[in-house]
C-alpha cells in the first residue's frame, strides 16, 4: 500500500519529463532519418552527373535532398519564435541574391561565380563553427575533438572565403586584384601562418574559445597570400581546389555540431574538388605544389621565335581555306579560350553546320585546360548550341587526327604545341597536348605569331602541313563562312 503510493508519486513527477526526453530522442531519430534520405539524394544527384542525359535530373535530386534537409532542420528547430523568423528572413534574402546571380551570370563569367559561391559556402561554415564557439563559451566546455573541428572549420572556411574572393576578383579583372601580392619570404610567411593557426587549434582543444577569432583572421590573410600570386592560366586548379575546401569546411562544421548530413555532403564535395584539382594538374603536367608556390617562367629557350618561324610560315586566305574545305571528310575544330574572349562560338557552330550539310563529319577537340575552369569550354560551346556528342575529350580525339583532313585551331596555342612532346628543356615539356600536327592540314586562326601563356614559340605554325590565317577571330570566321558559301 505504502509502496504503491510511492510508485504513483514517482510516476506522477517523472512522466512528463520522461515523455519530453522520449519525444526529443524520437524527434532526433526522425531528423537523422530525414538527413540520411537527403544524403542519399545527394549521392544519386552526383551520380546523375555522369551523363548529360541524366544530369538535369541529377541536379534536381540534389536540390530535393537540400529542400528535405532544410525542412527537417526547420521542423527540429528549438530556438525562439523570433529566431525562427530571423532564419526565414535570412533564407529569403539569400534566395533573392542567389536567384539574381544565377539568372544574370554569363557563361564566360562562370568561373568567378563558382569561386564566389565557394567563398560564400566557406564563410557560412566558418560562422556555424563560430556560433558554436560563442554558445559553448557561455556554458558547457566542449570536448577536445569539437574544439579541434571548430578550429579546422574556421581555418578552412576563412582560407576558402578570402582565397575565393581574390580568385573571383582576379577572374573578373577587377583593378583591385590586378597586381599580385608578392614579397620575399612569402612561402615562409605562409608556413608561419599555417603553424600559428595549428597551434591555436590545439589551444582550442583545451576548451578555449578565444583563439578561434584570431585564427580566422590569420587564415583569412593566408587565403589572400596563397591565391594572389597565382596567374591566369593556373586558375582552373585554384577554383577546383577552393571547391574542395568549401566541401571540407562544411564537413568540419558537421563535426562541430555532430551532424551527419554535413559530414557526408561535405566529404562528397571535398572528394569532387580534389579529383578535379588532380585532373587539372595532370592536364598541365604540373604538381599542385608547383601551381601553388611556383611560377611558370618562360626560360629563354635554345631556339628563338625567329629561327623557328623565318621563311616557313605559310599564310592563307578565306578563299583558299574554302577551297580546301570543299571536299573534306572530317574536320576537327580546336577551340581555345581566345575563341570565348572573341565571343565567336556561335560563328564556329555556323561554319560547322555548313560543313556538315556538305557531308563532312565535324567534331570539336577540347583540351582540359581550354577554359578558365574544368569543363568551361564545353559549357561555352553548349551555349552556342553545339551538340554535346560532338565535343570530344583529348584521349578520344588524339587517335583520330591522322585520319583528319582539316583541323581548325582557333584561339589555342600552348595546348597544340608539339614541343611539349619533344623538347625536354621547354617549360611545358610533358604536358599532354592535342596532336593536331598529325592531321593532313592544320589551319590556325590567330591574330599574330605571339606566344601563349607559356611564352614560347610554337613550331606547329612553321610545319609543312600548317597554314596560318591571320585575323581577329570573329571577323576571320565570318569571312570564312562567306567564302565557303560562295564556293
Amino acid at each position: 500500500m505504502f509502496e504503491t503510493s510511492l510508485d504513483i508519486s514517482f510516476l506522477a513527477v517523472s512522466e512528463p519529463i520522461l515523455d519530453k526526453v522520449g519525444q526529443a530522442i524520437a524527434s532526433a531519430t526522425w531528423a537523422n532519418l530525414g538527413y540520411l534520405i537527403s544524403a542519399t539524394f545527394f549521392i544519386f544527384g552526383i551520380k546523375g552527373m555522369t551523363h548529360p542525359r541524366t544530369a538535369v535530373r541529377g541536379n534536381m535530386l540534389g536540390a530535393i535532398g537540400m529542400i528535405l534537409a532544410v525542412l527537417v532542420t526547420l521542423w527540429q528547430f528549438h530556438g525562439s519564435t523570433t529566431a525562427f523568423l530571423v532564419v526565414l528572413l535570412g533564407v529569403a534574402m539569400g534566395t533573392i541574391v542567389g536567384v539574381i546571380l544565377a539568372a544574370k551570370v554569363q557563361m564566360t563569367q562562370m568561373p568567378q561565380l563558382v569561386a564566389l559561391l565557394n567563398g560564400f559556402g566557406g564563410i557560412a561554415s566558418l560562422l556555424v563553427a563560430g556560433a558554436e564557439v560563442v554558445k559553448k563559451a557561455a556554458g558547457i566546455p566542449y570536448p577536445a575533438a569539437t574544439g579541434f573541428a571548430a578550429a579546422l572549420a574556421g581555418i578552412i572556411g576563412a582560407v576558402t572565403f578570402s582565397g575565393s574572393i581574390v580568385a573571383a576578383g582576379k577572374l573578373h579583372e577587377l583593378p583591385a586584384f590586378k597586381d599580385p601580392i608578392r614579397f620575399d619570404g612569402q612561402q615562409i610567411a605562409n608556413a608561419l601562418l599555417v603553424g600559428i593557426c595549428l597551434i591555436l587549434a590545439f589551444v582550442m582543444m583545451a576548451g578555449y574559445g578565444w583563439p578561434f577569432w584570431l585564427l580566422i583572421l590569420l587564415a583569412g590573410v593566408l587565403g589572400v597570400l596563397l591565391v594572389s600570386p597565382i596567374g591566369g592560366a593556373d586558375m582552373p586548379v585554384v577554383i577546383a581546389l577552393l571547391n574542395s575546401y568549401s566541401g571540407l569546411a562544411a564537413c568540419a562544421a558537421g563535426f562541430v555540431i555532430n551532424n551527419n548530413v554535413l559530414i557526408i555532403a561535405g566529404a562528397l564535395v571535398g572528394a569532387s574538388g580534389l579529383i578535379l584539382t588532380g585532373i587539372m594538374c595532370r592536364a598541365m603536367n604540373r604538381s599542385l605544389a608547383h601551381v601553388l608556390f611556383g611560377t611558370l617562367e618562360a626560360k629563354p629557350g635554345s631556339v628563338t621565335a625567329d629561327e623557328i618561324y623565318s621563311g616557313k610560315i605559310k599564310e592563307t586566305s578565306a578563299e583558299e581555306i574554302a577551297m580546301l574545305l570543299d571536299s573534306v571528310q572530317r574536320v576537327v575544330f580546336v577551340p581555345g579560350y581566345g575563341l570565348a574572349v572573341a565571343q565567336a562560338q556561335h560563328i564556329v557552330r555556323e561554319l560547322a553546320e555548313l560543313l556538315e550539310a556538305r557531308g563532312a563529319e565535324v567534331c570539336y577537340g577540347i583540351h582540359p585546360v581550354a577554359g578558365r575552369m574544368p569543363g568551361h569550354m564545353n559549357v561555352l560551346l553548349a551555349e552556342a548550341e553545339v551538340p554535346y556528342d560532338q565535343l570530344k575529350e583529348m584521349d578520344e580525339i588524339n587517335p583520330l587526327f591522322p585520319q583528319t583532313d582539316v583541323v581548325i585551331v582557333i584561339g589555342a596555342n600552348d595546348v597544340v604545341n608539339p614541343v611539349a612532346l619533344t623538347d625536354p628543356n621547354c617549360p611545358i615539356y610533358g604536358m599532354p597536348i592535342l596532336t593536331v600536327h598529325e592531321a593532313k592540314t592544320v589551319i590556325v586562326i590567330k591574330r599574330s605569331l605571339s606566344p601563349g601563356f607559356a611564352g614560347i614559340p610554337n613550331p606547329l605554325f612553321a610545319a609543312d602541313n600548317c597554314l596560318m590565317y591571320f585575323g581577329d577571330g570573329k571577323k576571320a570566321l565570318n569571312d570564312l563562312i562567306a567564302a565557303v558559301r560562295e564556293s
Binding site: 552526383i46 551520380k47 532564419v87 559556402g121 571535398g270 585532373i279 553548349a382 556528342d389
Partner: protein, 88 residues
C-alpha cells in the same frame, strides 16, 4: 560518437571518389557548380546556430551566405545543363 562521425566521413569520401571519377570532362563545370550547391548544406548548421544575440547574429549571416550558395548553385547548374543538347 567521434569514431562514428569519422567512419561516415571516410566512407563518404570513398563514395565521392568512386562516383566522381566517372563524370565526363564535358560536365565538369556543372559538376563543380552543382556540388558547390551541395556544399551549401552548411545551411542546416546555420539554421540550428541561429539563437541568442551573438550566436544568432552569426547564424543569421551564415544562413544568408549559405542560402545564396545553395540557390545560386542549383539554379545556375540547371541553367547550364539546359544548354547541353544532343544532335538533332
Amino acid at each position: 560518437m567521434l569514431i562514428t562521425a569519422l567512419t561516415i566521413f571516410v566512407l563518404a569520401m570513398f563514395v565521392g571518389f568512386e562516383i566522381i571519377t566517372k563524370v565526363p570532362p564535358t560536365l565538369h563545370t556543372p559538376l563543380m557548380s552543382g556540388s558547390n550547391a551541395i556544399s551549401g548544406i552548411t545551411l542546416v548548421g546555420a539554421i540550428l546556430a541561429t539563437d541568442g544575440p551573438i550566436a544568432g547574429t552569426l547564424g543569421f549571416i551564415a544562413v544568408v551566405f549559405a542560402t545564396i550558395n545553395v540557390i545560386g548553385g542549383f539554379l545556375v547548374t540547371h541553367r547550364m545543363l539546359g544548354m547541353f543538347r544532343k544532335k538533332k
